[in-house]
């Protein structure tokens, strides 16, 4: 009897000690193909290098800002590293929910010794933001649904050209990007777009331009919707993230054509939540250093058509891991695709988002 008791006790102690030793790190991401690319490119290799460490994924990135704020108020941060778009990173930084860091200290230098701050360059848009990829919001269309004899669209303004390209289109149900495109197609020079959009008249002008196609637009909320709508023939053209189009065209053989014109570049990357314990922070730092080095970011591009955020990673981008096609021509940053690009102005939208969104929603409801 005594033996059984002490054995039980010993095994209980061992179990507790064991669970303490098996370390866990919770990463937050977007799910789907994107999270899969992260798993394959750096989470799995990192776990192999660190036996005993388990990486747990939480697919909460879409509502990461609100959840982090709630966690912070409750005083219990359960996430170790969070994948967010740059605009959200700026807001988290503003709210004091993300940790500020020094790029040259935290991130690995490029193989040729270029410090991280130069290698990432302008993409370090916030003191808290650790860039991973460049993606773009861009348009695609179905050639077979366009009228016979219509020229292949080569400009984003085809979206507003109901005469040449009749049929429904799909646009994201928010002002960002749509307002800019509307102004460009209304004759505003690219460099002046945000100056115009900062004025009441400019906002009205953009809404008026969007108003010319309003009754032909299906507004989407999730980026998976546009490829579906286009595949069903519900719309003839639409906008979504370039990775979604790539996956529909190359992996699912959909008869879509990309329309890269005036694609809007945006960034996605990590933030480290503020207030992690030192032990957790040390582990996260180790992971981040590994996961954002030149080779790892280039590896990620094997699985998804998003451009690596490091300049030094670009030449290392190879072929798709399963399809074996060259990935470079599918990157938003490829010179052929990036002939006419548009830069998303984070600062502008951080200021004007609430104001313009209220107007946009009121306009939609009219």
């Amino acid at each position: 009897m005594k033996v059984t008791k002490s054995t039980l006790l010993a095994s209980a102690v061992a179990a507790i000690a064991g669970s303490a030793m098996a370390e866990e790190m919770t990463l937050v991401s977007w799910g789907g193909a994107y999270q899969a690319s992260q798993t394959k490119a750096y989470a799995e290799p990192f776990m192999e290098m660190n036996p005993g460490l388990t990486i747990v994924w939480d697919e909460s990135s879409p509502e990461a800002v609100a959840k982090l704020r709630a966690m912070n108020e409750a005083g219990n941060i359960t996430w170790d590293l969070v994948d967010v778009v740059a605009a959200d990173a700026i807001r988290l930084c503003d709210e004091g929910l993300a940790m500020e860091y020094d790029p040259d200290e935290l991130l690995a230098a490029a193989p040729d010794g270029t410090p991280a701050s130069e290698d990432f360059g302008d993409l370090l848009v916030s003191d808290c933001f650790i860039p991973q990829i460049v993606y773009s919001t861009t348009a695609a269309y179905r050639p077979d649904l366009l009228p016979d004899g219509a020229p292949a669209p080569d400009s984003i303004c085809a979206m507003f050209d109901m005469e040449t390209y009749p049929g429904k289109r799909t646009l994201e149900k928010r002002p960002i990007n749509n307002m800019e495109w509307a102004l460009i197609c209304d004759g505003v020079a690219k460099d002046d777009v945000y100056d115009v959009l900062a004025t009441e008249e400019g906002q009205q002008r953009a809404l008026d331009k969007l108003g010319t196609i309003k009754d032909q637009v299906v507004w989407w909320g999730a980026a998976a919707e546009p490829p579906q709508l286009l595949a069903d023939g519900e719309v003839v053209m639409g906008t979504s993230y370039n990775g979604r189009w790539f996956s529909a065209i190359e992996e699912q053989d959909q008869p879509f054509e990309m329309l890269w014109d005036a694609q809007v570049f945006d960034l996605d990357g990590w933030i480290i939540p503020a207030g992690l314990s030192e032990e957790r922070l040390a582990r996260v730092k180790e992971f981040v250093k590994f996961a954002t080095d030149t080779q790892r970011l280039a590896d990620q591009a094997k699985f998804i058509s998003y451009g690596p955020a490091r300049a030094s990673s670009a030449p290392l981008v190879g072929q798709h891991a399963e399809l074996g096609i060259d990935m470079a021509p599918h990157m938003p940053t490829d010179p052929n695709n990036a002939k006419n690009t548009f830069l998303y102005n984070y600062e502008f939208w951080a200021d004007y988002r609430d104001d313009i969104d209220a107007k946009f929603q009121a306009w939609l409801a009219q």
Partner: protein
């Protein structure tokens, strides 16, 4: 002896007055009963009531301005917002002191976000100024007025200080005003500019569409519940499974299924075109509008109407209708005068359930509602998870809750809540 006993208070066996003894035992029983439900009560209180109340409290809570800029707020009291002139140096000095402390604690950007809800541009003004103000020395670098205006021209605008002063109160009605398309200004509540008014419209639409959905549910559920209650057991069981099966299916699956059914290249339109009822180039638009929301939500909420109706109808004795018929009533009279009145409590219970559920729905309208079929809850969700304006979200939620309680009260007055039966 007998006289003495009768004149004093009646005593219990242990000599205490009976009244006291009874009260004590009653109290003990109450305490025991309370102790028995205490865990549940505590659980409900801690996990339900307190979070909801604290969330609702955010709709008026506004300590952030006076906590982040304590000295400035004091100085602002001496400044006349209507004078059209900039505040004096004392205020700028107080502001610099406040900001240095706030930047240290990284709270200035949070304040910028808060004020940006009221005045566009505040967010970047606080963020950009933070770095430069941190370098100032509160003693050596005075005077500050010119320096601050150099750092950001916004500090030289009267409107900036008016906004800060207007929103410096610790308890504000600003969020509630925003929730009804108004805003707090130094001159008192004013209407929002016309092109930003949307929330009152959404409240109205939410109520109107919820009523239509409830009505549609009543019409569809009544015959089904009647069949369920009157058909022989074997058939009605099968029917019951057909009712419950969609009830157990995921909400998202059912909503997406409606998308496949209703879209322009969807099942219904394809069938109609194939049958020749509709021309190929004039397909019906029955999704991404109010119609789509009403159809999908009626389907999703139907079981909540059928089940209470069914359980009430089951208790209506068939002998009543037989008696009515034996006395010469027509089928219609029997139904309308005998059966229907007895089934009203079921309709009442189902309507309350469906209406209250409908008013708070947001996933289905988001997916099938397009632009004209979305509800106020979609805006609440947006402000909770995207714009992070939790104060406004809380105000909208409080109003929604108040509307539901008001309707419930009206319902109680008109129909009487005692007439509602879930079974």
């Amino acid at each position: 002896m007998t006289d003495a006993t009768q004149s004093g208070p009646m005593l219990a066996a242990d000599g205490t007055p009976l009244k006291k003894s009874l009260a004590r035992s009653l109290r003990r029983r109450k305490v025991r009963a309370l102790a028995l439900i205490a865990p549940l009560l505590l659980f409900v209180l801690l996990s339900f009531v307190i979070p909801i109340v604290s969330m609702l409290f955010r709709s008026v809570e506004n300590g952030i301005v006076s906590e982040t800029l304590p000295l400035t707020v004091v100085e602002l009291r001496n400044w006349d917002a209507d004078s059209g002139e900039l505040p004096d140096e004392a205020l700028y000095a107080a502001f610099v002191k406040d900001m240095i402390a706030a930047v240290e604690a990284k709270e200035h950007t949070r304040l910028g976000t808060r004020l940006n809800y009221e005045e566009t541009g505040m967010s970047s003004m606080f963020r950009k100024s933070g770095r430069n103000i941190k370098r100032l020395d509160p003693e050596a670098d005075a005077p500050f007025k010119e320096k601050l205006i150099d750092i950001h021209e916004g500090w030289g605008e009267v409107e900036t200080w008016r906004t800060i002063k207007t929103h410096a109160v610790p308890i504000t009605n600003g969020y509630f005003l925003n929730a009804i398309d108004m805003r707090r200004t130094p001159e008192g509540p004013r209407a929002q500019p016309e092109d930003k008014q949307i929330l009152v419209k959404l409240f109205g639409r939410t109520l109107f569409m919820s009523l239509i959905i409830t009505g549609a549910c009543i019409l569809l559920a009544y015959p089904v519940s009647y069949l369920l209650a009157t058909l022989p057991m074997r058939v009605s069981n099968l029917l019951m499974i057909l009712v419950l099966l969609p009830f157990w299916t995921s909400l998202l699956v059912r909503t997406s299924a409606w998308k496949v059914m209703l879209q322009q290249q969807g099942v219904i339109n394809e069938t109609l075109v194939w049958l020749g009822f509709v021309a190929d180039d004039a397909r019906l638009v029955i999704i991404n509008n109010q119609f789509g929301t009403i159809i999908a939500m009626t389907h999703i909420l139907l079981p909540f109407m059928i089940l209470p109706m069914y359980s009430v109808m089951q208790t209506i004795p068939p002998s009543y209708t037989r008696a009515a018929k034996s006395m010469g009533a027509t089928n219609w009279t029997t139904f309308w005068r005998i059966y229907f009145p007895q089934s009203i409590p079921g309709i009442g219970a189902g309507s309350i359930l469906v209406f209250i559920l409908a008013i708070g729905y947001y996933i289905t309208p988001e997916i099938v509602g397009g632009t004209k079929g979305v509800f106020i809850s979609n805006r609440i969700a947006y402000h909770i998870s995207s714009s992070l304006n939790w104060g406004l979200a809380a105000a909208l939620g409080t109003i929604l809750l108040a509307v539901v309680l008001l309707l419930y009260w009206c319902y109680d007055k008109i129909v009487g809540i005692d007439n509602v039966k879930l079974g």
